[in-house]
């Protein structure tokens, strides 16, 4: 049995981060997501829930998966959707973010999905406009819908995450995915171990109540789920590289085929996009132990649930 919550009073206007959501909030969202996940398997996977809503997707950073996933979720619920993307930071040339969002908001927008390289931008937008704000990733701060879809996927494997052993492997310091996951997983009672080179661990990360390991073998032997994070290749080649080479990284922290035989129990997740041959061998990514594509499908359902709840749908 999963820890489900019925007749729950969900009272959030925004989803800025999982730091603001309680355990009950998270379980409720995941519960709602299960209904939407069923809809996705129907012959016509559409519902009219957001028929009267207008949503803008504001993407200041490149994104394929997250943006498509949000857009699909919105369209499957019948919302009117507009997309704005810019790789240029608005403050560097032309209009400020505040002006951009106030202008867009004047066109009568109900919800804003935002991704930005600066932590805190979703919070900033709540001060600029009335619309509901959904954080689709703010710098290395939070990426709450990713963590929700990760937890949803873990629930498909283990139902109740209490006491489950989750390893997160790789570039911890620069990952918003890991921050939201640590917050959410700890709230649901999971045990979390972070594994990767010491230089990719942020200072004081143990404040989250997680453990740190520099030993992949030990970590894989322990865990129920191993979530590998993307190594941000674009950071390599800078003057201050944080680890010596991709080769050494893969040798020490890459998940290999041999691990699947050696440790037969753990499942493999990855928020994508994968660098094959870095975080894991290709065969590992394509193996039956990997639930990476399930994560992607679940992402649409989880985002539908969040959009539904923040549109006030459950309060009607």
């Amino acid at each position: 049995m999963s820890d489900s919550v019925s007749d729950y009073e969900f009272n959030h206007k925004h989803l800025l981060g999982l730091a603001d959501y309680s355990k009950e909030d998270i379980l409720y969202v995941l519960d709602q997501a299960r209904s939407f996940r069923e809809i996705l398997d129907r012959p016509v996977p559409k519902v009219p829930t957001l028929r009267d809503k207008t949503i803008v997707n504001l993407f200041y950073e490149n994104s394929t998966r997250t943006r498509l996933s949000f857009e699909l979720a919105q369209k499957r619920m019948g919302a009117d959707v507009v997309n704005f993307s810019s790789s240029n930071s608005s403050t560097k040339k032309g209009e400020s973010l505040k002006d951009t969002i106030r202008n867009i908001s004047s066109m009568k927008i109900d919800m804003v999905v935002v991704r930005h390289e600066s932590p805190g931008v979703p919070h900033f937008l709540t001060q600029c406009v009335d619309a509901a704000i959904l954080n689709a990733g703010d710098g290395a701060h939070e990426h709450p819908t990713q963590a929700l879809l990760d937890m949803f996927t873990m629930q498909q494997i283990h139902q109740n995450l209490k006491g489950k052993k989750i390893a997160i492997i790789g570039d911890i310091a620069y990952s918003r995915v890991v921050r939201s996951n640590m917050i959410g997983l700890k709230k649901l009672g999971a045990e979390v171990v972070l594994c990767g080179p010491k230089t990719l661990m942020p200072p004081f990360v143990k404040e989250y109540g997680v453990e740190v390991s520099y030993d992949l073998e030990e970590t894989l032997a322990w865990c129920d789920v191993a979530m590998a994070l993307r190594i941000q290749l674009e950071r390599q080649g800078n003057a201050t590289e944080l680890f010596p080479s991709l080769r050494e990284y893969h040798e020490r922290f890459g998940i290999k085929l041999e691990h699947l035989d050696k440790y037969p129990d753990f499942k493999i997740m990855h928020p994508g996009p994968i660098n094959r041959g870095v975080e894991m061998e290709s065969e590992v990514a394509d193996s039956e132990r990997a639930v990476i594509l399930d994560q992607v499908t679940n992402g649409v359902a989880v985002r539908m649930a969040v959009l539904y709840l923040l549109s006030g749908g459950n309060r009607v």
Binding site: S89, S96, G139, H141, P203, E207
Partner: protein, 426 residues
């Protein structure tokens, strides 16, 4: 002019006696109880408020010339007077940089009609570029009181060595913005628990401390006077403490926000950019160390690093917002609340940090409250509750972390340049 019912605080007054002060032509003519006004004499009753020799903020940015949209000498000195300061030393990161005598003289001239004495700090290096030292002697003759490339460190150790040697010949301090840029960038706040939680790149304390350590060693070697700008970390205070024990010519200052606020504010205030400055807000341990350093004399000076930025510059994404906050208007209230009301320092010690020490470091004459002395005075209370709201911001910019905060203790005005300037709350 007769000023009635004041409690003087100075090296020779503890603030425990009420007296009257008569000022004629900008000179203190008479001090005594119950002075009677002569015919037509203007009388101002202060009702038992304190008076001390005029305060000085030795670390402000007046932004003129070049950045008049942030602050001007006029608005910046209005803010200073509102904060109780009769003098400020202004940093040279202007445009053009204050790196030649003509810019020094321009600033002094522009400040002539203001109620506050403005003492320019000249650049250490030409164009603040960090490559070769500026014309220090000429700037001194023009009225500069110290040298600094503030906003940036003097990064090249050889340039710093030369600067310390040359300025020591002139008897002038070098004020260094202590920051190892490789260690600190691209930090947007203190590196620690909170930066990890918020996913913001952090500037670690060691970026400041390694530079302080270098400068102390260079000061010892050259015999120059290094003044450590806006100290913010516990280890940094310790380095200065040890250096002072060894007799090295080092002094330092702390900004009011660094003995009041911690990096937790950036989380609590939801990425409010009015809590972003350099050095960043640090931890409670550091705040405690600032207070300890003030108490034991390691930290000589209380300053503000008053750094105005326009609304449109600050109302942006956190990582794009410039560093810096206002300080002049709220300095006394924060000092009063954190140091006096908590009994960490007494009034006389605070006047040392706000008046005697900064003036001493900058070789300005010592101020006195005695008959025959020039009337350069600050009036203040310690118990008035007030709110620093937008109406009461005197700066041209509004970037204060204390906006709409309830404060205790207010500067009531100053007497300077022959005139009484009283602050009215709006």
């Amino acid at each position: 002019m007769l000023l009635k019912n004041l409690r003087p605080v100075s090296k020779t007054h503890k603030g425990d006696e009420i007296t009257d002060i008569r000022i004629v032509d900008g000179i203190i003519k008479e001090i005594g109880a119950d002075l009677k006004p002569s015919k037509d004499e203007e009388v101002k009753d202060f009702g038992g408020a304190y008076v001390s020799p005029g305060w000085m903020d030795m670390h402000v940015h007046l932004r003129e010339p070049g950045f008049e949209h942030k602050e001007t000498i006029k608005t910046g000195t209005d803010a200073a007077a509102f904060g109780g300061f009769t003098a400020v030393a202004c940093m040279p990161n202007t445009k053009p940089a204050t790196h030649t005598r003509d810019v020094v003289e321009y600033i002094i001239k522009k400040a002539e009609d203001t109620p506050v004495h403005v003492h320019p700090i000249g650049c250490v290096t030409k164009d603040r570029a960090g490559k070769s030292i500026a014309e220090m002697a000429d700037m001194k003759d023009g009225g500069a009181v110290a040298f600094s490339d503030d906003g940036d460190p003097v990064y090249n150790s050889q340039v710093m060595r030369v600067a310390l040697e040359y300025s020591s010949m002139l008897g002038m301090p070098i004020i260094n913005h202590e920051e190892d840029l490789e260690l600190s960038r691209p930090g947007h706040m203190n590196e620690g628990k909170v930066s990890t939680r918020l996913g913001l790149d952090g500037t670690p304390g060691i970026a400041e401390e390694t530079m302080i350590a270098r400068d102390i060693l260079l000061a010892e070697y050259t015999g120059g006077h290094i003044h450590v700008a806006h100290i913010s970390t516990a280890k940094g205070v310790d380095l200065v403490r040890q250096a002072k024990k060894q007799g090295i010519n080092v002094t330092t200052e702390v900004c009011t926000h660094h003995f009041d606020l911690t990096d937790e504010e950036i989380d609590r205030q939801k990425f409010n950019t009015n809590f972003k400055m350099h050095p960043p807000l640090r931890t409670q341990e550091d705040v405690d160390a600032m207070i300890e350093g003030l108490v034991d004399g390691t930290i000589d000076v209380i300053c503000t690093d008053h750094a105005p930025h326009a609304i449109e510059e600050k109302e942006v994404e956190f990582i794009y917002a410039p560093n810096g906050i206002l300080g002049l208007e709220t300095a006394w209230a924060i000092t009063n609340m954190r140091l006096l009301q908590t009994k960490k320092l007494d009034l006389q010690q605070l006047v040392e940090k706000l008046c005697y020490n900064p003036r001493g470091i900058l070789n300005l004459p010592e101020l006195k409250i005695e008959e025959g002395a020039e009337a350069n005075l600050t009036f203040f209370n310690t118990d008035e509750e007030w709110t620093f709201d937008l109406k009461n911001v005197r700066s041209k910019s509004k970037n204060s972390p204390y906006l709409d905060t309830k404060l205790t203790g207010r500067a009531l005005g100053i007497f300077n340049k022959g005139q009484l300037h009283l602050n009215e709350l709006k």
